[in-house]
């Protein structure tokens, strides 16, 4: 393993470059030529902006992003698409049979720097094939007002149970308790690809991949 060599040896020659000042010549001193030049630059923009209004065609927020002219978009009629890595409102994934993937291991609530996740673990009811094998969250609450959208919960989840790929930003509500998202609401959100299913749906009791170990029937 390479070790850090930091800081390194100072540069032999610090390439200092003095800044250039505007000359104090008559042109600058007499205000007017520069004022007209500046107004010219502003007017160019003014006409570029009005041209689009006159034509009645507003720029596309994605395609015309680097074009001159208006860059404002009329939200919410027009929306800027969020990039693929955008961290939006959380969601909980499900297994293929529609049940929750979360096993209430508390990794996400531990990793959360804002401590915005509250989980209460519970045992599956008697007779359930998962009883004694894993738990599930009786309560899974995310306080979207405390959340800082750092994405550490997603990184910390060993089950791919929590994700932030809904593509939704936190919406404003009128009271604080509406920001407390409970388990069922989080389960109802779907990913941007429209899916609910986890990427880690392995080792289900009853599945062919399951090692056949439960708490009662272990080695």
């Amino acid at each position: 393993m390479a070790t850090a060599t930091f800081p390194k040896k100072p540069a032999d020659h610090i390439n200092a470059k003095p800044v250039e000042y505007a000359p104090h010549d008559l042109e600058v001193k007499s205000y007017l030529p520069e004022i007209f030049r500046g107004v010219g630059v502003s007017m160019k923009h003014f006409f570029e902006n009005t041209r689009e209004i006159v034509r009645g065609k507003l720029p596309d927020p994605v395609l015309d992003r680097y074009d001159d002219g208006i860059t404002t978009i009329s939200y919410p009629e027009q929306k800027r698409p969020y990039p693929e890595r955008f961290r939006g409102v959380h969601r909980l994934t499900t297994r293929t049979d529609g049940s929750m993937r979360c096993v209430a291991c508390l990794c996400c609530s531990t990793a959360c720097p804002a401590q915005c996740i509250y989980i209460e673990a519970g045992e599956y009811p008697p007779g359930d094939k998962r009883r004694g094998y894993e738990k599930y969250p009786v309560k899974f609450v995310v306080d979207e007002l405390r959340c800082i959208f750092c994405g550490y919960c997603v990184e910390a989840c060993p089950c791919d149970a929590i994700r932030m790929d809904t593509g939704m930003h936190a919406v404003p509500y009128d009271s604080r308790d509406q920001f407390i998202y409970d388990r069922d609401l989080l389960l109802s959100f779907e990913g941007r690809d429209g899916s609910h299913v986890t990427a880690n749906a392995r080792h289900e009791p009853g599945d062919p991949t399951h090692p056949g170990l439960t708490r009662e029937h272990s080695h």
């Binding site: 393993m1 390479a2 070790t3 850090a4 060599t5 930091f6 800081p7 390194k8 040896k9 100072p10 540069a11 610090i14 390439n15 200092a16 470059k17 003095p18 800044v19 250039e20 000042y21 505007a22 042109e27 600058v28 001193k29 205000y31 520069e34 004022i35 030049r37 500046g38 630059v41 502003s42 992003r65 680097y66 860059t71 969020y82 990039p83 693929e84 890595r85 955008f86 961290r87 291991c105 990794c107 531990t110 990793a111 720097p113 804002a114 800082i148 959208f149 750092c150 994405g151 550490y152 990184e155 910390a156 060993p158 089950c159 791919d160 932030m164 990427a199 880690n200 392995r202």
Partner: protein, 404 residues
């Protein structure tokens, strides 16, 4: 009251010369951040300026002692909230120095590119705000438009516009997106075009120059004595740049200049920042040319890096390692170190003590703004009240890192 018909010598009939106290801030439209300045005025001249900071104090250093070393990344995002990526890189380098970890080539180039993008955004905001506070709103809007484009790139890469939380101990959260280089080049091209247009409005405009030139000058010796670093020190003619004097990442392998001023006045600080935007662009261009397209951005040291998700899902070793790192945090060897990088406003230092556990024992930050704002009263005393605005703007105080 004295009768007015008495013969008076000229100058005797003056108003009582008690100084007037005036509060500027904490929230003042012309103040560059949340800071309160109590000025004592004699007429329009500032006799005494008492700069009171602390309005954004959140106990950053104490908060760091609560969680793991990796959980500090969201906090450093909020130090200098105009260039969070530079803080991310600074903190990552600091912890890596403690652990003795080196990041792969590609990760180092990636950090440099993202960091310099953040530096451009920082300088655009600061210079634009100086102009705006003096009444020139147009360049500010254009430069903020350019900053938006940079933030679009950063959002594309990190998933958040401002609070990236993207650095990790030993690397970055994810590798560059496939379109990173192309998007970066297109953005830089446009940013420079917008920058030039804004400069056309300002740099030869005498009204603007008169407001900045010879306002708030400071000598190099005074600036060094106050502990200034960054663009404000370089404006005094001292070519001290951590990237040159104590290179980290790959800064010793790229070619760039250090813009320096001469008088250390507000105009110098303004021009140095504009010069640095161009140098940052140069650095990013070289970085993009030399950054490999393949390869890891993070080291594979299992002591600090989370295992790959596929390992966590399928092997017990991966799961255990994952749980140990999440629940206890990466163990940093006991000891102490000081690590410093060039932030948006100057030398951003972290002094840290570890007791060998997964939680920092003590973290001390050396924010560049703190020392710089300490010199503000010296700069404005004896000058006009209206000079406070551009002087304070050019120091670019960021409350988040100043009030640590």
């Amino acid at each position: 009251m004295e009768p007015l018909d008495v013969e008076l010598e000229e100058g005797e009939l003056e108003l009582p010369a008690e100084p007037m106290h005036l509060n500027m801030g904490p929230s003042h439209p012309a103040m560059h951040g949340t800071v309160r300045t109590v000025v004592e005025l004699s007429g329009e001249t500032v006799v005494k300026a008492d700069v009171q900071i602390g309005y954004l104090h959140r106990g950053f250093e104490k908060m760091c002692e609560r969680g793991t070393w990796a959980q500090v990344f969201p906090y450093v995002d909020r130090l200098n909230y105009v260039s969070p990526m530079l803080n991310n890189v600074g903190w990552a380098l600091a912890v890596e120095k403690m652990c003795g970890i080196a990041v792969p080539e590609r990760g180092q180039w990636y950090r440099m590119a993202l960091g310099e993008l953040a530096r451009i955004a920082d300088h655009l905001t600061c210079t634009g705000a100086i102009a705006m506070e003096l009444g020139a709103f147009t360049p500010f809007l254009w430069w903020v438009k350019a900053r938006e484009m940079i933030w679009d790139v950063l959002e594309e890469e990190t998933g958040a516009r401002l609070t990236h939380a993207f650095g990790r101990i030993g690397g970055m959260a994810s590798p560059p997106t496939p379109g990173f280089k192309g998007l970066c080049r297109a953005t830089l091209e446009k940013v420079e075009q917008i920058l030039v247009e804004g400069e056309k409005l300002l740099l030869r405009n005498r009204i603007f120059i008169d407001r900045l030139e010879n306002v708030g000058p400071i000598s190099a010796a005074d600036a060094i004595a106050l502990g200034w670093t960054g663009p404000c020190l370089r404006a005094c003619g001292v070519a001290y740049d951590v990237r040159k004097s104590h290179p980290y990442l790959k800064y010793d392998e790229v070619d760039f200049e250090v813009p320096v001023g001469t008088n250390g006045d507000t105009l110098d600080r303004f021009l140095v920042r504009l010069g640095e935007i161009r140098q940052s662009k140069r650095i990013i261009e070289q970085t993009l040319d030399r950054m490999p397209d393949e390869g890891p951005v993070s080291c594979d040291d299992p002591r600090v890096m989370l295992p790959a998700k596929s390992d966590v899902y399928s092997t017990i070793e991966g799961t255990i390692q994952h749980f140990k790192l999440v629940m206890e945090g990466a163990k940093v060897p006991a000891g102490e170190c000081y690590s410093y990088t060039e932030g948006g406003n100057g030398e951003l230092g972290f002094y840290m003590v570890s007791d060998g556990s997964g939680t920092p024992y003590r973290v001390r930050i050396r924010p560049p703004c703190f020392q710089i704002v300490g010199g503000l009263s010296k700069l404005v005393e004896g000058r006009l009240l209206s000079d406070i605005v551009p002087t304070f703007g050019s120091l670019n105080m960021i409350g988040g890192e100043c009030d640590h």
